[in-house]
């Protein structure tokens, strides 16, 4: 009996590990290729589309000024660019700062939302911004972002040259990576996530997930879709699915880079991640139940991936951990033997080598210090994810059962040092 459970967990886990292996390969290959594409597009593109940058801001006085300054430094034809700050029912000085910048710089436009239709979340704010904007291409940035000067240009290049791309997703980097151990871990995680999951999926399946920030999408698509889903907690995953369903692909284009701040305390991190996990669970449920109605069955790839992450792989890990602990105290008469230990070690080595490979793509990231953090990460940070899924599932179940309304928790910002001077185009 224990044998059966062990093998089930083993195969669930290793299905996921193999998929990650496969994605990492794709990520590596994309890393080798994307720069050539970028150079080619730079050479051949004469005409740029009009771009509206939407910046939803809810009580963002700590960071908004910085962000707007970065926007002003953007390297894009001024007559084709507008920056729309959506002050979403802020109770702090966010609105004033936005208004001041709008007054001073014609390229910046401030929009204010008021109750009762305000402050309900990012999706609502973005829909407001969309209505107030003009551009053919919509680019979204979080209020804590500092895009590199060429970011918009690269995103627009993608939209202009890849007609099948509904959206272009850029790369984000962490400004406060060296702040503490947590930000260091998050930094490693984001680099790996982007090169493994985003670049890997793009390379093999022409799919990647629209993140919350630093992406461009065609206005025509947003209009066709009726904007963002205001019920979705993670509006990005949800939007990605809808874009695929229209038959477009979503390109991961690491040449467009933005820098953002990551949570510096475990509490903030926990709340942010809970929101993401719940959001993804919402999407899984929505699309799993409505799968038969989808036109593009390609979504199944991502849906399976999410299903694995939040349910099957998760179950596998739980079973495997349980068996491991039980076996310390009881004789479970497991027949598996040596191979299980080898797989255990191999699983760890795969994690380490995949993460270090991803780190090696970025300048100054593959350091001895980071390498040891990676070793540490496997046993701590990565395991936190188990608790996170349990907690998020609990909350989502409660929401569905008691029909609670979703509330959007905005990630708390930190006043910190200015963006890392070492940012690069690599």
């Amino acid at each position: 009996m224990a044998d059966i459970f062990l093998y089930i967990s083993l195969f669930l886990i290793w299905f996921m590990l193999f998929y990650h292996m496969f994605l990492m390969q794709g990520g590596y290959l994309h890393m080798l290729h994307y720069k050539k594409t970028c150079e080619k597009w730079h050479r051949q593109t004469k005409d740029f589309p009009t771009v509206s940058v939407l910046i939803p801001a809810h009580n963002e006085e700590v960071v908004i000024e910085n962000t707007l300054n970065a926007m002003l430094r953007l390297n894009y034809p001024k007559n084709k660019l507008e920056i729309v700050v959506i002050n979403d029912n802020s109770s702090d000085a966010t609105g004033d700062i936005a208004d001041a910048y709008a007054l001073k710089y014609p390229v910046i436009k401030a929009v204010h939302t008021k109750p009762p239709n305000a402050g309900k979340g990012k999706s609502g704010a973005l829909n407001h911004g969309l209505a107030a904007s003009q551009g053919e291409v919509i680019v979204v940035y979080d209020a804590d972002n500092t895009p590199e000067p060429d970011a918009i240009k690269n995103l627009a290049l993608g939209i202009q040259n890849d007609k099948k791309a509904g959206a272009i997703v850029g790369k984000f980097r962490v400004t406060n990576a060296n702040q503490n151990l947590l930000t260091r871990l998050i930094n490693i995680e984001t680099i790996t996530f982007q090169w493994l999951a985003q670049a890997g999926r793009w390379f093999w399946f022409k799919m990647s997930t629209i993140p919350g920030t630093n992406f461009a999408i065609r206005r025509s698509i947003l209009e066709e879709l009726g904007g963002w889903d205001e019920k979705a907690l993670s509006e990005d995953t949800e939007l990605s699915f809808r874009v695929y369903n229209l038959g477009y692909h979503i390109r991961f284009f690491p040449a467009a880079i933005t820098w953002e701040q990551e949570p510096e305390t475990i509490r903030v991190w926990w709340k942010q991640r809970t929101r993401w996990a719940r959001g993804n669970e919402y999407v899984i449920l929505k699309y799993l139940l409505g799968f038969h109605r989808l036109k593009r069955k390609k979504i199944a790839i991502d849906l399976t991936y999410f299903l694995f992450t939040y349910l099957l792989f998760f179950a596998g890990v739980i079973i495997s951990h349980t068996i491991f602990v039980l076996n310390l105290f009881l004789d479970l008469k497991l027949s598996i033997g040596l191979v299980s230990y080898i797989l255990l070690i191999l699983g760890f080595l795969l994690f380490v080598t995949e993460v270090t490979l991803a780190l090696s793509f970025e300048r100054k990231q593959l350091t001895w210090k980071n390498f040891f953090v990676v070793l540490f990460m496997y046993f701590t940070y990565s395991q936190l994810w188990i608790l996170l899924v349990i907690y998020a599932t609990y909350l989502e179940t409660k929401r569905v059962l008691f029909r609670q309304e979703v509330t959007w928790y905005k990630t708390q910002r930190f006043k910190g040092k200015q963006p890392n001077e070492n940012r690069s185009a690599s």
Binding site: V339, T353, T356, L357, R363
Partner: protein
Amino acid sequence: MIRSLFFSLIILLGLLAPPILTLAEGSEEQSPHVLVVYSNDEEDVDEYQRMLDMLVGHFTKKIEFVAIEDFKERDLEETTHLFYQGMVKENLPQRFHAAVESFDGPVVALGYNYEQLGDRFSFAEPIDIKKFNEMYLASNPEKKIKVSIQQISAIEPDENSEVLAWTKGGHITHPLVTKNDNNYYVGISEIDYNVSIILAETLHEVFQQAHDQHYQGYIRLEDIHPLVDPRKLKQVAEVLKEKEIPYMIAVIPVYVNPETGAYSHMSDYPKVLEVLKYMQKNGGTVVQHGYTHQYRATETGEGFEFWDVRNDSPIYKSADDPNPIKGPADFKAEEDYQKYLKELQAFEKSYVEEKITKGIHELSGFGLKPLAFEAPHYTMSQNGYQTVANHYSTYVGQLQLSDKDWETMDSTPYITNPSMLDGMTLLPETLGYVQPDNTEAMDIIMAKAEKQLIVRDGMLSVFYHPYLGVDKFKELLERLETLPEIDWIDLKEEEAMATTSKLTITAKDGEIHSSRNAIASITDSKLSFTYFIKNTIDKITWVMVGTGALAVVFFTTSTFVSYRRVAKEEWRDKVG
């Protein structure tokens, strides 16, 4: 060109093909019909008739036994060879005397009462009962078989007779087998194994079948159950493979723990199973050695499976049934007893049937294809053999010759088709085994082998317990190699067969075929299915290990490549 090459290749292969096993020879029409008429104290044939059965079975499959009191003249209608075996002194009926007189085929008389058979046996003048302690063939007087002191009905043959074999006691010899025209007299009716050797050779003359000198033999690895040491088993298998000796593996499909009664199947010991499959691929053929090799709560390999030793009876009731088996005295009418006996035999039949069927299915589910049967400790009733005959074409070992006592068992010097096996071919075991604690174990085997060589197509067959280790086994082979060339029997080359209502396993020209495909045999039982799944999973996990390891290597290499690349770019940016 290619075609002619192909053609000549076929011819060449034909020449190289090993000589085919010499079973009962001759085609159906020409093969002899043998009638054995016997006088004994029993109600049925006894062990001595069965010894004769085994001897005659080498020449024909058509053997019938008739008690002298039941003999009718028409019993001879199809008979080509008539045997009379006189175990006790008695007056023979006139009709038998007359029938012998008018019968024109060869007549062989053994033991008592031959003097009542008329002119045909007047060549043998009875003397007296004499003692002897040696026997030998007239054609091979150097090879004497030493025996403990025995008795013979000594005769004085007339001058036209030819003595084919002699007994010797001190300096005095007496004819053992005497030939006169086509009449033969054998001075002993209680045929034991030594007498069998003499008779085996002389019967070739009786049946006019001049078989070539051709020794066959086999090596059987004994008592291979799930708990044997796979390492030792593999070592022995490797020796046999290297020497290109085909062999038999006596497999017990289930090991029963004598204390707990728990069953262990081959699937529980995949390493043993793996070795068995290796063996099957490299010269070995599986022989089903019972199912559990026990009946009452005894250890597998030790217990009797098809004989109730406590009651010294066939398996007439389940092991935990406390009721005693009744005898004829417990019944008022003989009729009632016979009815009761039928029920007991029906029980035994279904018991044997179940064990055999389970065994065949279980082995087959694991990819092992049994082609012959061997009862544990060679014990089984006549009813049991007939039941086995419904499932197997070939029986390996010795035969129990009495339903009253399991210890009455013996072998015969050559391959045979005795009527008691109901169509099965017996591959007799003749040399015994390497006794674990006996320092002279090898010499005992070799002495037996020397005797076997007296018979032109004698069998040289031995069994070995692999737990004794590979060194002893090598020693055994070395000793056997000093004998004249032995043609090792490969069951896969015979027309051997195992069958149940579900499947039939056949062998031909070195290949084993099963009527059920691999998938069907796997899904036939939960046991084999579970094993298959486990085995597959095991392979998959190792493939996972391989792939995972490759990926780790690839990622590590790529990391170095990519790190250097990025560092170079950075440097270029700085400089440029």
